[in-house]
Symmetry: C2
């Protein structure tokens, strides 16, 4: 509104930029995403984005950390709930994953990061993040290796369906696979088309 209110603390601006970055990196991937789109998403100028994070690469690395933290937070909350209500960790974590599907940016940003293992700077971060999830499943959720592998595999299939931008109405095979993957209630984010 007024000119002065546009000046906000750096910490707060940082989070706004990271939130915008999750959307942009998720939609376009690392290479096709532009710092300008992130800036527009955060409502600031492109050079300011770069000023805050140094480089686009560094922004992506911090965005990966941001999304990973959110994933782990969601999973840990689900585990606590399963504990309190005596539900199985497996079922409760599956439901938690579906919550995350609602926000396409999170899972797609992670998957795009996972595809960059060959990148010297981003690869180690991506591997570290992936296996942090694996360790959480094994140690905190009490999964066996087979349970953890199966959980991750199902997750990657769901990520792929999001990345494909699959819609329930596409055709018979599509409807069948979506029904088989999600059961009765296909996440609503599959029904809207991308803005």
């Amino acid at each position: 509104m007024n000119a002065k209110s546009d000046r906000i603390p750096a910490d707060e601006r940082r989070v706004q930029i990271l939130d915008a970055a999750v959307e942009v990196f998720g939609r376009y991937g690392y290479a096709a995403a532009t710092t300008d789109r992130v800036a527009k998403g955060a409502g600031i100028s492109q050079p300011y984005v770069v000023r805050m994070f140094g480089t686009k690469e560094q922004l992506f690395i911090e965005t990966l950390g941001h999304t990973l933290a959110r994933l782990l937070r969601t999973f840990r909350a689900a585990l606590a709930e399963a504990d309190a209500e005596g539900l199985s960790a497996e079922a409760r974590l599956g439901a938690a994953y579906l919550e995350l599907v609602g926000d396409r940016g999170v899972l797609l940003t992670l998957l795009h990061g996972f595809m960059m293992g060959a990148d010297p700077a981003i690869g180690p971060v991506a591997r570290g993040g992936f296996f942090e999830v694996y360790r959480m499943l094994r140690q905190e959720a009490g999964f066996t290796p087979e349970q953890a592998r199966s959980f991750l595999a199902e997750g990657m299939l769901i990520n792929t369906l999001i990345g494909l931008d699959v819609r329930p109405t596409d055709d018979l095979a599509t409807a069948e696979l979506l029904a088989c993957t999600f059961g009765d209630d296909v996440p609503e984010s599959f029904e809207r088309s991308i803005a």
Copy 2:
């Protein structure tokens, strides 16, 4: 060697370019891949690549078709073999998938394509390719929806492990997941580092 022998038929050149493109798109993804790298891989000039395929986008679409055809060919050969030797289609297709892992470019190009569902030109091609595989599993391999979903999920996890550029020596969690995914013989392509 001699100057004249460098002139080869367009059809043959096309295949050379597509083979180079599979490697490059697999390694860098669509956006970060350059027509110049593809050209160097095929041993020709960058403008000639563009000349042959019109645009980089069109090159990617044809590369997707090329890799998908190879995937389906491998699967169908495995099915024929399973038929002849009385093996289960599920086990034989799993083994066929592992053959494809040896050539990182194929599976990574496909996965990069699957991540581009939101792209107006590439999205429809990627979805079509993915569900062509699904239909093959259901109709030709005789999989139930659950078997097909599970097979695809395991495949996507393997693709992700390739994309992450995971190495067996990384740490305990890594070794455990690789052992759990591949059993005794982890594909050798996981042991070499990328060139």
